[in-house]
């Protein structure tokens, strides 16, 4: 008994009892998913998949990794992605494929030839099932990384506190990646709002070590090169002690314990500048 005859047998059965199989398949999965997906939608999805598998079988046989299965594979990946987005488990997703075995089983039990065909078909479905799991995991990873990015964006707001003064309340640990985002956003906001002063508030930063200080210094220096002044505020007593103990030097960067003090200082500097401007005009 060759693979070709098996394939022909499978194609025959799958074509002859298409409606039956499809209905049963849809029902099995529908029971599994317990109404979290509408039957009509499910039926449509599976119908497309069924056709694709059948076509691929008829063209090129049982090798699930071959080119002729391209369409079926992309359909499966699409199905898997949407399942992952909707919060189904990987088991539920893979079972969508495996259920086809159960549907086919009664029709093929008995003769040796059919059993062999069934086993080969089962292997094909195993392959395709694994594919769904792979696609599922990949989609999940994409979701996680995009969420991490959003979190990074959310955790680094730059707010305009006053005309000419922007504030950056930092929350959480400062690592290189975050510093980059903070720096980019801060500098861009300085340009956009034409602000001369920036207050970096580190009340929400749990620990300040030499590396964090380094990151802060870089940001301050970059802002200064663009022509803005930075004030660091929100230094808690604990952190002040650590900074001194570690021998960290903030140089000529003004530091403050409270945001209010920092804002007052910034406004005072701006007022002085405007006063000078007026004097210069007279």
């Amino acid at each position: 008994m060759t693979a070709e005859t098996n394939t022909r047998l499978l194609v025959e059965i799958l074509t002859a009892q298409r409606d039956d199989f499809l209905a049963q398949w849809t029902r099995t999965i529908g029971d599994d998913l317990q109404g979290r997906l509408s039957m009509a939608e499910l039926g449509y999805e599976l119908g497309e998949l069924y056709e694709a598998i059948l076509k691929a079988l008829a063209i090129g046989g049982l090798d699930g990794r071959g080119d002729h299965f391209g369409e079926a594979r992309s359909l499966l990946i699409e199905l898997s992605r949407s399942r992952a987005r909707q919060g189904f488990t990987p088991t539920e997703t893979a079972r969508s494929v495996f259920a086809l075995k159960e549907v086919l089983e009664p029709s093929l039990a008995g003769e040796t030839a059919s059993v062999q065909a069934y086993l080969q078909f089962a292997r094909l479905l195993d392959d395709l099932g694994l594919l769904t799991t792979e696609a599922y995991v990949r989609t999940r990873e994409e979701i996680i990384s995009s969420q991490a990015e959003q979190l990074l964006e959310l955790s680094t707001p730059v707010v305009k506190l006053w005309d000419g003064v922007v504030g950056v309340p930092l929350v959480g640990t400062l690592d290189s990646a975050r510093t980059q985002v903070v720096m980019e956003k801060l500098l861009q906001t300085l340009v956009d709002t034409d602000s001369t002063h920036a207050i970096i508030d580190i009340t929400g930063v749990p620990t300040v070590d030499t590396q964090v200080a380094q990151h802060l210094l870089k940001t301050v220096v970059a802002a200064r090169m663009m022509g803005a002044r930075c004030i660091i505020s929100g230094i808690r007593p604990q952190i002040a002690q650590t900074i001194v103990a570690l021998g960290i030097e903030f140089g000529d960067i003004p530091t403050n314990s409270s945001l209010a003090d920092a804002l007052r200082q910034a406004l005072k500097e701006i007022a002085l500048e405007t006063e000078d401007d007026l004097k210069g005009l007279l």
């Binding site: 500098l187 340009v191 602000s195 870089k218 220096v221 090169m225 663009m226 022509g227 401007d277 210069g280």
Partner: protein, 122 residues
């Protein structure tokens, strides 16, 4: 023959607007032109606008610092204006801090700062 960066005179201020990425020869020419012009015009201030520059390497960074020092020796204050965020970040990563160079966000603020410095001196 490379292009030269124009040095414009407005009152007591010289304005250098750098519009293209600088080649090494242009940087050297600019340094010479600028020092000559300061002496010729008796300018009290120099504004170097780099808002059009998307790439600034360490050579250009050093040139800005050198020009500032030269002008100061000749009695003029230099202000670098319009540095882009990306440029500032690159310079920081390169370890340059342009210490001793005055900066302003844009040309308008730069001119204001010059006026203020002039008023202080007067």
């Amino acid at each position: 023959m490379t292009d030269r960066v124009p040095v414009l005179k407005i009152g007591e201020t010289l304005l250098v607007s750098i519009q293209t990425d600088l080649e090494d020869q242009m940087v050297m020419d600019l340094q010479e032109d600028l020092s000559n012009r300061i002496v010729d015009t008796g300018a009290k201030g120099v504004v170097i606008d780099i808002s059009a520059l998307e790439i600034v390497d360490s050579f250009v960074g050093r040139m800005l610092a050198t020009n500032a020092s030269i002008s100061r020796v000749l009695g003029a204050e230099t202000i670098v204006v319009g540095m882009r965020p990306a440029v500032a970040m690159t310079l920081v990563e390169l370890g340059l801090s342009l210490n001793g160079v005055r900066t302003a966000l844009n040309l308008e603020r730069g001119l204001k700062l010059l006026r203020r410095l002039g008023a202080e001196r007067a």
